[in-house]
């Protein structure tokens, strides 16, 4: 009797994660083409439109850059938590609460000059995000509560907090009774740097570069690496695991909350429950595809942003924009398959018959 098993290769196939990602992309495009064909939609026209509206011109490229910002920052936030083997599934909530904190500052000082207000709002956003992730970090460090579930639960709480504010305390008096929050101060808008791209693109790149430097060059980053790879060694070296877990979760939340602040000042006019826009979940996939490396996060975030921006444009062809979501998920499943096959091979072996 024969059966299929996964056997580890003596030498992993070369190329690694970039190849796995490209394989995932091809896998997703083929899967998407099959779906489009079955539903009678034009495959080539759809993909051409998606490409054209994401990378086709300077104007669309700049829009793709903008949308890559929250994806990259969330990807970075997830990677930061992952250095300690932790999962931050709560970026969605941290974006929302970060943007809520920024809105609070905007309401408190509506007359500050633009640059000062923007800085204050972004700091508040980071602080808000850190606060939203601090609880799960504390619970994990002190009594071992799974941060996966607590961060996930707090997403739903942050979402409902905004809906509550929308209909009560922060309701727009000029909204004709429509439940929306008053627009943020006009001067708190991030300036454009190139075509449609706003300053947030540069800020995000700086944050990613700073983190990469921090992980590789600072004492704290070095301690993190030890603590993440070998808790026992870290404890012997006098590194407090408790404080590392809390610190890393708060930092991860701060980066995600910061993304919420950038969204509020960059792309949105007002705080709403849609400001997180699924970035919190897509960013986790981005981080996983980038194997939690900052440079990889930037590249994958750009690709996902292109799929999302392109996805919005195909509705005019009569094609559902859900194609974009499907493609993003399929990339991950394709890449999983490729990554496994690069370290393992499928072999047909003879099953031993035991009497």
């Amino acid at each position: 009797m024969k059966r299929l098993v996964l056997a580890r290769r003596e030498h992993p196939t070369r190329g690694g994660q970039p190849v796995a990602f490209l394989f995932g992309l091809v896998f997703a495009l083929i899967g998407g083409a099959l779906l489009l064909t079955i539903s009678g939609d034009p495959v080539f026209d759809t993909y051409e439109r998606m490409w054209d509206r994401s990378f086709g011109s300077f104007d669309t490229i700049s829009a793709t850059f903008n949308r890559a910002v929250p994806l990259a920052l969330v990807g970075l936030a997830v990677s930061i938590a992952a250095t300690m083997g932790l999962w931050n599934i709560g970026a969605e909530g941290q974006i929302l609460f970060g943007a809520t904190a920024a809105t609070f500052v905007g309401r408190l000082f509506p007359d500050l000059p633009g640059p000062i207000l923007i800085i204050a709002m972004l700091l508040a956003a980071a602080l808000g995000g850190a606060l939203w992730a601090f609880g799960p970090g504390l619970a994990r460090a002190e009594i071992g509560v799974s941060e996966i579930i607590t961060t996930l639960m707090l997403n739903e709480v942050a979402l409902r907090l905004i809906i509550y504010l929308q209909t009560t305390k922060w309701k727009d008096p000029d909204g004709f009774g429509f439940p929306q929050i008053t627009a943020r101060p006009e001067q708190a808008k991030l300036g454009a740097i190139w075509e449609r791209a706003h300053l947030g693109v540069l800020i995000a790149l700086a944050v990613i570069a700073a983190f990469a430097w921090f992980m590789n060059r600072s004492v704290w980053g070095y301690e993190l690496k030890i603590a993440g790879s070998s808790p026992k060694t870290a404890t012997y070296a006098g590194i407090s695991m408790r404080r590392k877990v809390i610190g890393v979760m708060a930092l991860s939340g701060a980066v995600a909350g910061f993304a919420g602040g950038i969204e509020l000042s960059g792309s949105a006019v007002r705080l709403s429950e849609n400001i997180s826009n699924g970035f919190g979940f897509a960013g986790i996939i981005v981080a996983a595809l980038a194997l939690m490396r900052p440079s990889g996060v930037a590249v994958v975030a750009l690709a996902f942003s292109a799929l999302q921006v392109g996805g919005l444009s195909i509705q005019t062809l009569g094609v559902s924009s859900a194609v974009s979501t499907i493609l993003q998920a399929l990339i991950l499943f394709g890449a999983i398959g490729a990554a496994v096959l690069s370290t393992y091979q499928i072999r047909l072996i003879e099953r031993k018959v035991t009497a």
Binding site: L152, R160, F281, I285, A322, L332
Partner: protein
């Protein structure tokens, strides 16, 4: 006049509890599925996506065939099939369960949106009718709430008892729990870890799909994008709240179902408390329960399956 007011409030109370039973059924089916999957050691964060797939296929199956039963079956099969993707990635290939599950939610929501595009404003209906239990349904108040529900509610109770029995009283259940506690030990004892886990994930997916189909063939009675409205995440919370045991999951489903029902029905009671704050309760309660479980785990074994979330590869044992 006093009599008239009393009648209104009784209708409101009955309405509240009827809705509680409906939401409890919805949450229990998905929560039971997730319980089975997690007892085998596989965390599946794809519930929301599997539910959406069940909802859209359930609706299509029901209106195209004219029978909500066909819809329910189609929804279950669709949920089980999409769960197979998580089973393959996270169990057979050993990928990270968190990432694979979240990707499954994304894929499920996207696919449901895509497939359901033509059915969004479909006026056709093929809905379950309430089934009156003879004799019992005539009891005032209790009859309306407990003995005049949709057949899916009764089916969910049967499934719950069956799941409890299989998990706790059969060798298959013992094997499944062993696989979830310690995969290498179970493997050494001759259980097929991969087979058991994949099976549990697929069964879990079928139940999440059934929950979704119940949503589109009874509770809401139609398909639209976002019809699952985050209830899949409540189901994930419910499993923890219920300490991974079908009976407690059922009790939790009633409590969480009550908070869901309360949101849309506060006004008739003259309560000025914001319904949106009530809707935070299931999530906050789950966090509270997790904290209590963790504190108690210092003195007694945690109810969480020990092998939950850990991939198993035999050669790395």
């Amino acid at each position: 006049m006093i009599f008239a007011e009393l009648t209104i409030s009784e209708t409101a109370i009955i309405g509240l509890f009827v809705a509680t039973i409906q939401f409890a059924t919805l949450l229990f089916l998905a929560g039971l599925g997730e319980t089975i999957s997690e007892r085998a050691g596989v965390l599946n964060l794809g519930v929301e996506g599997m539910m959406a797939i069940g909802a859209v296929f359930g609706f299509i199956g029901a209106v195209e065939s004219g029978s909500p039963w066909i819809g329910l079956l189609v929804g279950m099969i669709a949920g089980g099939l999409i769960a197979l993707l998580h089973a393959t990635a996270a169990v057979a290939l050993g990928a990270d369960q968190v990432v694979s599950g979240l990707a499954l939610t994304m894929l499920g929501l996207g696919l449901a949106d895509f497939i359901g595009d033509d059915y969004t404003s479909d006026p056709r209906r093929a809905l379950f009718a309430e089934v009156d239990i003879p004799g019992l349904s005539d009891i005032r108040f209790i009859g309306d709430v407990l003995f005049s529900a949709s057949p899916v509610t009764y089916l969910a109770i049967v499934f719950g008892i069956a799941a409890w029995f299989v998990l706790n009283r059969t060798s298959i259940g013992l094997g499944l729990r062993a696989v979830g506690q310690s995969a290498s030990t179970a493997d050494a004892a001759g259980h097929s870890v991969v087979g058991m886990r994949m099976g549990a994930v697929v069964v879990g997916g079928a139940l999440a799909g059934m929950s979704g189909a119940y949503l589109s063939t009874f509770v809401v009675g139609a398909w639209s994008v976002g019809v699952t409205a985050g209830r899949g995440w409540i189901a994930v919370a419910l499993v923890i709240f219920g300490a991974w045991r079908p009976g407690r999951v059922a009790a939790g489903a009633l409590l969480f179902g009550f908070t869901l029902a309360l949101q849309s029905r506060l006004q008739p009671f003259g309560v000025s408390f914001s319904p949106i704050l009530v809707s935070m309760l299931p999530y906050l309660l789950t966090v509270a329960v997790l904290i209590v479980i963790s504190i108690r785990a210092r003195n007694q074994p945690s109810p969480s399956p020990a092998g939950l979330g850990i991939a198993y590869r035999r050669e790395e044992r």
